[in-house]
């Protein structure tokens, strides 16, 4: 047992509900997971397509500035002035060639170099501007998706992604050449783990919409990638045939060129969920706010090769289908809240569907198996240092 003191159940399909609600466990998660050896997606480069474009984002409270310089290179900085640490940029997104800190007027270019500071003759003897660029966390990218890690010990990004790489590449339009359509941002009254445990994973019974729309789920597979327990779903695309209750069925139409690529979901430990379904390409940048709250930025994309009609179709479908107000996912959002309320009760959450042996973890699953989440839980348990009970 660690100082946080939680004994993990012996059975691999049981998760103690206390892990979702205890403040002390949340504080430990910050250290071991969010500042630990994980990579966290923070932006896709298509969110900042032009020289001078930037985006800010808070990852587990840490303010980040992601900026494209005038030569087109994207970098990630801490969004804090290298002088006294004042928050540098306040806008969520925009275009700037220089960032000026208002406090003592230090000026940085989009490469993060300090290019101006008034009255520096009064500073420490030997003060040199080149010693004060904006600080940077470790970052790397995969098909334009930028990841940050807050630990020096983290393995390389390709190792971290492992076998999820191909599914993720397909999800990013095959080549990562995306075009931003916009955001839906929301806070859920839910622990970050209740969010990731229930987003992506699809309980068909929940979705009244599938029945009313005459929509059968496509056949598919679900597998675990790497020891982190990343979850990948690959399934043939199922398209509604026959009558639906919708008057405008373009909402559920597939107009893409490549039905073989079908639906994809990649859920990376700890909080990232991404999906490509019908013509929606959606990256969900999620960050814990406290043990009771998670903030999710749903970013939607078209592909750069889309013609105008396709962009329009993606825009209309993306807005109304899979987000916090979407036809087939508003219900998921409500489950995040309700699971979190339910987790404030004693005992364990018990996974059933797809579990064959309570003492064994598997790595291949059927599309709607709950058991796909279990390797991730095992990784969580080991990172947190929780011992399994003997009996």
């Amino acid at each position: 047992m660690t100082e946080t003191g939680l004994t993990w159940p012996k059975n691999v399909n049981e998760i103690p509900k206390a892990a979702f609600t205890r403040k002390d466990i949340y504080a430990e998660e910050m250290k071991r997971i969010f500042f630990g050896q994980e990579w966290h997606p923070v932006a896709h480069e298509s969110e900042l397509p032009n020289p001078g474009d930037f985006k800010t984002f808070r990852l587990a409270g840490v303010p980040l500035l992601i900026a494209r310089d005038m030569e087109g290179m994207v970098r990630v900085f801490y969004n804090a002035c290298s002088h006294r640490g004042n928050q540098l940029e306040t806008a969520v997104m925009g275009n700037k060639t220089e960032f000026e800190c208002p406090y003592h007027r230090w000026l940085f270019d989009a490469k993060g170099d300090l290019v101006g500071c008034p009255n520096h003759r009064d500073f420490l003897p030997g003060f040199d501007k080149s010693d004060y660029p904006l600080a940077q966390p470790r970052f790397d990218s995969f098909y334009g998706l930028f990841f940050v890690t807050l630990s020096a010990e983290t393995e390389s990004l390709p190792e971290f992604l492992g076998d999820s790489q191909n599914t993720l590449r397909e999800l990013l339009g095959g080549d990562g050449r995306l075009k931003l359509l916009g955001y839906q941002k929301v806070r859920y009254d839910s622990n970050w783990k209740s969010y990731t445990d229930n987003d992506g994973y699809h309980a068909p019974l929940l979705h009244q919409a599938f029945k009313l729309l005459n929509w059968q789920g496509g056949k598919g597979r679900q597998f675990t990638a790497t020891k982190h327990g990343h979850i990948c779903f690959e399934s043939a695309l199922s398209v509604v045939s026959g009558p639906t209750v919708l008057k405008d069925d373009s909402l559920i139409a597939f107009k893409g060129q490549d039905p073989a690529v079908g639906s994809r979901i990649v859920s990376l430990f700890p909080t990232f969920v991404s999906t490509k379904h019908l013509d929606v390409i959606n990256l969900r940048f999620a960050t814990p706010v406290d043990e009771e709250t998670v903030e999710v930025h749903y970013a939607y994309f078209a592909h750069q090769d889309d013609d105008e009609d396709m962009v329009r179709h993606r825009l209309r479908q993306s807005s109304n289908l899979l987000g916090p107000c979407g036809l087939i996912s508003m219900e998921d959002a409500s489950i995040f809240h309700r699971i979190h309320i339910g987790n404030h009760t004693p005992g364990n959450a018990i996974f059933q569907k797809g579990v064959h042996d309570q003492s064994k973890l598997e790595s291949e699953f059927l599309q709607n198996d709950e058991s796909g989440n279990l390797p991730r839980w095992e990784y969580y348990r080991s990172v947190m240092g929780f011992e399994r009970a003997e009996a």
């Binding site: 969520v92 997104m93 925009g94 931003l180 359509l181 916009g182 955001y183 839906q184 941002k185 929301v186 806070r187 859920y188 009254d189 929940l206 009244q208 919409a209 009313l212 209750v245 919708l246 008057k247 405008d248 909402l251 903030e295 939607y300 825009l315 209309r316 993306s318 807005s319 109304n320 987000g323 916090p324 107000c325 036809l327 508003m330 219900e331 959002a333 409500s334 809240h337 309700r338 309320i341």
Partner: protein, 165 residues
């Protein structure tokens, strides 16, 4: 014949309040009835942040009459029993209007929406923002919404949305 300003203002306010009343009463048919029968009738709910950055994506994007009708189906038929219900109170205030042509008026109003989830009973602000409306005057002198954009200052929602704002 064009109405006098006072009569027109009263009619515009009546339309704004009819919408607030339908939404707070969860009367989706009543909500739909405030919109014009024209095919282009539209309701878009979007963050001001998206709009200001040239991003057209919305929280709700009902850009034709059939999507408005489908929105009624979502709430009344498809989502029944799957969410935690909440009450809302919409406060609307007309800020500015101008006549576009004999049958069309542009209206800008502020809104704030309180929500009270039935389970917690705690009231909080769901969203604040402005309605950017195009209002159609029909032959009988009635007013309907041809298009409404609920532009939310609230770029991060405190909750998922079931009902339009």
């Amino acid at each position: 014949m064009m109405q006098t300003d006072t009569a027109l203002e009263a009619a515009l306010d009546a339309l704004l309040l009819a919408d607030a009343s339908a939404l707070d009463g969860k009367d989706m048919q009543g909500w739909l009835a405030n919109y014009s029968e024209e095919d282009e009738a539209s309701y878009i709910c979007r963050s001001a942040e998206n709009s200001e950055n040239g991003l057209a994506l919305g929280f709700m994007f009902d850009d034709c009459r059939s999507r408005l009708e489908d929105r009624v189906t979502f709430v009344n038929d498809i989502w029944v029993g799957t969410f935690q219900d909440y009450r809302t109170r919409h406060f609307v205030q007309r800020v500015k209007y101008w006549r576009v042509d004999a049958a069309t008026i542009s209206v800008r109003s502020n809104f704030s929406v309180f929500m009270t989830p039935t389970d917690s009973g705690i009231t909080q602000v769901l969203a604040a923002g402005q309605y950017l409306d195009t209002v159609r005057l029909d032959k009988a002198g009635g007013l309907k919404l041809l298009s409404r954009r609920a532009e939310l200052d609230t770029s991060v929602l405190p909750r998922y949305l079931v009902y339009p704002i």
